[in-house]
Protein backbone atom coordinates (compact mmCIF):
# COMPACT_ATOMS: atom_id res chain seq x y z
CA UNK A 1 0.00 0.00 0.00
CA UNK A 2 2.38 2.62 1.21
CA UNK A 3 4.64 3.56 -1.60
CA UNK A 4 8.18 3.97 -0.55
CA UNK A 5 10.05 6.43 -2.67
CA UNK A 6 13.52 7.63 -2.18
CA UNK A 7 13.93 11.39 -2.53
CA UNK A 8 15.73 10.91 -5.83
CA UNK A 9 12.69 9.15 -7.25
CA UNK A 10 10.55 12.28 -7.06
CA UNK A 11 10.09 13.74 -10.49
CA UNK A 12 11.57 17.12 -11.15
CA UNK A 13 8.92 19.85 -11.28
CA UNK A 14 7.92 20.97 -14.73
CA UNK A 15 8.90 24.53 -14.07
CA UNK A 16 11.56 25.73 -11.67
CA UNK A 17 10.26 27.24 -8.45
CA UNK A 18 10.06 31.00 -8.67
CA UNK A 19 9.40 33.10 -5.61
CA UNK A 20 6.44 35.41 -6.21
CA UNK A 21 7.60 38.98 -6.49
CA UNK A 22 6.09 40.85 -3.61
CA UNK A 23 5.33 44.52 -4.02
CA UNK A 24 4.67 45.10 -0.35
CA UNK A 25 8.23 45.50 0.84
CA UNK A 26 9.53 44.15 4.13
CA UNK A 27 7.60 46.42 6.48
CA UNK A 28 6.21 43.58 8.61
CA UNK A 29 9.69 42.09 9.01
CA UNK A 30 11.15 45.42 10.11
CA UNK A 31 8.28 45.98 12.55
CA UNK A 32 8.80 42.47 14.00
CA UNK A 33 12.52 43.17 14.50
CA UNK A 34 11.77 46.62 15.95
CA UNK A 35 9.40 45.16 18.58
CA UNK A 36 12.17 42.90 19.88
CA UNK A 37 15.00 45.45 19.72
CA UNK A 38 12.98 48.29 21.28
CA UNK A 39 11.53 45.89 23.86
CA UNK A 40 14.97 45.13 25.30
CA UNK A 41 15.90 48.83 25.47
CA UNK A 42 12.51 49.73 26.97
CA UNK A 43 12.94 47.16 29.73
CA UNK A 44 16.00 49.07 30.94
CA UNK A 45 14.49 52.55 30.39
CA UNK A 46 11.10 51.79 31.99
CA UNK A 47 12.49 49.82 34.95
CA UNK A 48 14.93 52.69 35.60
CA UNK A 49 12.08 55.21 35.35
CA UNK A 50 9.88 53.23 37.75
CA UNK A 51 12.73 52.72 40.22
CA UNK A 52 13.69 56.40 40.39
CA UNK A 53 10.10 57.70 40.48
CA UNK A 54 8.38 55.10 42.67
CA UNK A 55 11.03 53.33 44.78
CA UNK A 56 13.60 55.99 45.74
CA UNK A 57 12.80 58.31 48.65
CA UNK A 58 9.10 58.86 49.21
CA UNK A 59 8.13 57.26 45.90
CA UNK A 60 5.01 58.58 44.21
CA UNK A 61 4.49 61.14 47.01
CA UNK A 62 7.69 62.95 46.05
CA UNK A 63 6.51 63.64 42.48
CA UNK A 64 5.56 67.27 41.83
CA UNK A 65 6.65 70.10 39.53
CA UNK A 66 9.88 70.61 41.47
CA UNK A 67 10.73 66.88 41.12
CA UNK A 68 10.20 66.91 37.34
CA UNK A 69 12.00 70.26 37.04
CA UNK A 70 14.97 68.88 38.95
CA UNK A 71 15.16 65.80 36.71
CA UNK A 72 14.83 67.66 33.41
CA UNK A 73 17.51 70.17 34.38
CA UNK A 74 19.91 67.36 33.55
CA UNK A 75 20.48 66.36 29.91
CA UNK A 76 20.79 62.76 31.12
CA UNK A 77 17.13 62.51 32.10
CA UNK A 78 16.04 64.59 29.09
CA UNK A 79 17.65 62.07 26.74
CA UNK A 80 16.38 59.14 28.86
CA UNK A 81 12.78 60.38 28.76
CA UNK A 82 12.93 61.40 25.09
CA UNK A 83 14.20 57.95 24.12
CA UNK A 84 11.58 56.30 26.33
CA UNK A 85 8.83 58.48 24.83
CA UNK A 86 9.65 57.63 21.22
CA UNK A 87 10.45 53.94 21.69
CA UNK A 88 7.46 53.26 23.95
CA UNK A 89 5.03 55.11 21.68
CA UNK A 90 6.23 53.39 18.49
CA UNK A 91 6.36 50.01 20.28
CA UNK A 92 2.85 50.52 21.70
CA UNK A 93 1.36 51.90 18.49
CA UNK A 94 2.78 48.97 16.53
CA UNK A 95 1.41 46.51 19.10
CA UNK A 96 -2.09 48.03 18.99
CA UNK A 97 -1.88 48.09 15.17
CA UNK A 98 -1.25 44.33 15.24
CA UNK A 99 -4.23 43.80 17.55
CA UNK A 100 -6.53 45.98 15.39
CA UNK A 101 -5.45 44.00 12.31
CA UNK A 102 -6.22 40.75 14.14
CA UNK A 103 -9.64 41.52 15.55
CA UNK A 104 -11.30 44.27 13.45
CA UNK A 105 -12.79 42.26 10.60
CA UNK A 106 -14.51 44.88 8.43
CA UNK A 107 -12.16 46.90 6.23
CA UNK A 108 -13.81 50.18 7.19
CA UNK A 109 -13.67 49.46 10.95
CA UNK A 110 -10.00 48.54 10.67
CA UNK A 111 -9.24 51.67 8.66
CA UNK A 112 -11.01 54.01 11.06
CA UNK A 113 -9.37 52.45 14.14
CA UNK A 114 -5.90 52.70 12.62
CA UNK A 115 -6.39 56.32 11.50
CA UNK A 116 -7.46 57.20 15.07
CA UNK A 117 -4.50 55.26 16.48
CA UNK A 118 -1.93 56.97 14.24
CA UNK A 119 -3.50 60.38 14.86
CA UNK A 120 -3.44 59.97 18.66
CA UNK A 121 0.13 58.61 18.61
CA UNK A 122 1.45 61.41 16.38
CA UNK A 123 -0.14 64.14 18.51
CA UNK A 124 1.15 62.62 21.76
CA UNK A 125 4.71 62.05 20.48
CA UNK A 126 4.98 65.61 19.09
CA UNK A 127 3.48 67.09 22.27
CA UNK A 128 5.80 65.05 24.51
CA UNK A 129 8.88 65.98 22.46
CA UNK A 130 7.99 69.68 22.55
CA UNK A 131 7.45 69.52 26.32
CA UNK A 132 10.87 67.93 26.94
CA UNK A 133 12.68 70.48 24.73
CA UNK A 134 10.79 73.67 25.65
CA UNK A 135 10.39 72.97 29.37
CA UNK A 136 11.49 75.75 31.74
CA UNK A 137 12.20 74.55 35.30
CA UNK A 138 11.93 78.11 36.70
CA UNK A 139 8.94 79.81 35.02
CA UNK A 140 8.90 83.52 35.88
CA UNK A 141 6.16 84.53 38.29
CA UNK A 142 5.59 81.04 39.69
CA UNK A 143 5.44 80.64 43.51
CA UNK A 144 8.96 79.95 44.79
CA UNK A 145 7.90 77.03 47.01
CA UNK A 146 6.74 75.06 43.94
CA UNK A 147 10.06 75.34 42.07
CA UNK A 148 13.08 73.02 42.08
CA UNK A 149 16.13 74.02 44.13
CA UNK A 150 18.21 74.73 40.99
CA UNK A 151 16.13 77.91 40.53
CA UNK A 152 17.83 79.33 43.65
CA UNK A 153 21.61 79.08 43.24
CA UNK A 154 23.56 79.30 46.51
Amino acid sequence: MAQTQTPSAIAAPRSPYARRKTTRGNFELYSWVFMRASGVVLLVLVFGHLFVNLMVGEGVHAIDFAFVGGKWSSPFWQVWDLLMLWLAMIHGTNGVRTIVNDYAQRDSTRGVLKVLLYLASTIVVILGTLVIFTFTPCPPGAPAELLPSICFPN
Binding site: G39, L54, E58, V60, H61, D64, G92, T93, G95, L127
Partner: protein, 112 residues
Protein backbone atom coordinates in the same frame (compact mmCIF):
# COMPACT_ATOMS: atom_id res chain seq x y z
CA UNK B 1 -1.61 30.49 24.73
CA UNK B 2 -2.57 32.23 27.99
CA UNK B 3 0.79 33.98 28.23
CA UNK B 4 0.12 35.27 24.69
CA UNK B 5 -3.33 36.57 25.76
CA UNK B 6 -1.84 38.16 28.90
CA UNK B 7 0.92 39.78 26.80
CA UNK B 8 -1.72 41.42 24.56
CA UNK B 9 -3.97 42.52 27.43
CA UNK B 10 -1.11 44.02 29.46
CA UNK B 11 0.30 45.66 26.32
CA UNK B 12 -2.98 47.45 25.53
CA UNK B 13 -3.38 48.52 29.18
CA UNK B 14 0.13 49.97 29.28
CA UNK B 15 -0.39 51.77 25.95
CA UNK B 16 -3.53 53.57 27.13
CA UNK B 17 -1.87 54.53 30.42
CA UNK B 18 1.10 55.84 28.40
CA UNK B 19 -1.16 58.15 26.36
CA UNK B 20 -2.70 59.58 29.57
CA UNK B 21 0.70 59.77 31.30
CA UNK B 22 2.28 61.84 28.50
CA UNK B 23 -0.71 64.21 28.55
CA UNK B 24 -0.56 64.69 32.34
CA UNK B 25 3.21 65.22 32.22
CA UNK B 26 2.69 67.84 29.49
CA UNK B 27 0.98 69.97 32.16
CA UNK B 28 4.46 70.96 33.44
CA UNK B 29 4.45 73.23 30.39
CA UNK B 30 1.19 74.89 31.55
CA UNK B 31 2.07 75.82 35.14
CA UNK B 32 3.50 74.28 38.33
CA UNK B 33 0.03 74.58 39.91
CA UNK B 34 -1.73 72.72 37.09
CA UNK B 35 0.81 69.88 37.15
CA UNK B 36 0.76 69.53 40.94
CA UNK B 37 -3.05 69.48 41.01
CA UNK B 38 -3.25 66.59 38.54
CA UNK B 39 -0.28 64.60 39.84
CA UNK B 40 -1.82 64.96 43.32
CA UNK B 41 -4.64 62.68 42.20
CA UNK B 42 -2.00 60.00 41.45
CA UNK B 43 -1.09 60.00 45.14
CA UNK B 44 -4.49 58.88 46.48
CA UNK B 45 -4.92 55.32 47.83
CA UNK B 46 -7.15 54.22 44.91
CA UNK B 47 -4.67 55.45 42.31
CA UNK B 48 -1.90 53.89 44.41
CA UNK B 49 -3.53 50.49 43.93
CA UNK B 50 -3.91 51.29 40.22
CA UNK B 51 -0.17 52.03 40.04
CA UNK B 52 0.54 48.67 41.68
CA UNK B 53 -1.58 47.00 38.97
CA UNK B 54 0.17 49.03 36.26
CA UNK B 55 3.61 48.05 37.51
CA UNK B 56 2.48 44.40 37.69
CA UNK B 57 1.34 44.62 34.04
CA UNK B 58 4.65 46.22 32.98
CA UNK B 59 6.79 43.69 34.86
CA UNK B 60 4.93 40.72 33.33
CA UNK B 61 5.02 42.26 29.82
CA UNK B 62 8.75 42.97 30.16
CA UNK B 63 9.81 39.51 31.36
CA UNK B 64 7.46 37.66 29.04
CA UNK B 65 8.76 39.83 26.19
CA UNK B 66 12.30 38.60 26.91
CA UNK B 67 10.89 35.05 26.84
CA UNK B 68 9.32 35.71 23.41
CA UNK B 69 12.69 37.00 22.14
CA UNK B 70 14.45 33.87 23.47
CA UNK B 71 11.84 31.59 21.84
CA UNK B 72 12.43 33.42 18.54
CA UNK B 73 16.22 33.72 18.52
CA UNK B 74 17.63 31.05 20.86
CA UNK B 75 17.93 27.65 19.18
CA UNK B 76 16.64 25.85 22.29
CA UNK B 77 14.03 28.54 23.00
CA UNK B 78 10.97 26.65 21.70
CA UNK B 79 12.01 23.53 23.64
CA UNK B 80 12.25 25.43 26.92
CA UNK B 81 9.32 27.83 26.36
CA UNK B 82 7.28 26.27 29.15
CA UNK B 83 10.17 26.24 31.61
CA UNK B 84 10.87 29.86 30.69
CA UNK B 85 7.26 30.78 31.50
CA UNK B 86 7.87 29.53 35.04
CA UNK B 87 11.07 31.60 35.15
CA UNK B 88 8.96 34.62 34.09
CA UNK B 89 6.44 33.88 36.85
CA UNK B 90 9.28 33.48 39.38
CA UNK B 91 10.98 36.74 38.36
CA UNK B 92 7.58 38.46 38.44
CA UNK B 93 6.95 37.31 42.02
CA UNK B 94 10.45 38.36 43.15
CA UNK B 95 10.21 41.79 41.47
CA UNK B 96 6.73 42.47 42.86
CA UNK B 97 7.84 41.30 46.32
CA UNK B 98 10.53 43.99 46.14
CA UNK B 99 8.25 46.69 44.76
CA UNK B 100 4.86 46.22 46.48
CA UNK B 101 5.82 46.69 50.17
CA UNK B 102 7.82 49.83 49.36
CA UNK B 103 5.12 51.32 47.12
CA UNK B 104 2.21 50.44 49.43
CA UNK B 105 4.11 51.98 52.35
CA UNK B 106 4.56 55.16 50.31
CA UNK B 107 0.86 55.18 49.40
CA UNK B 108 -0.70 54.19 52.72
CA UNK B 109 2.07 55.03 55.19
CA UNK B 110 1.08 58.63 55.80
CA UNK B 111 3.30 60.67 53.49
CA UNK B 112 1.78 64.05 52.76
Amino acid sequence: MWSWVAHRVTGVLIFFFLLVHILDTALVRVSPEAYNAVIGTYQTPIMGLGEAGLVAAIVFHAFNGIRVILVDFWAKGPKYQKAMLWVVVGLFVVTMAGFLPRHLMNVFGGGH
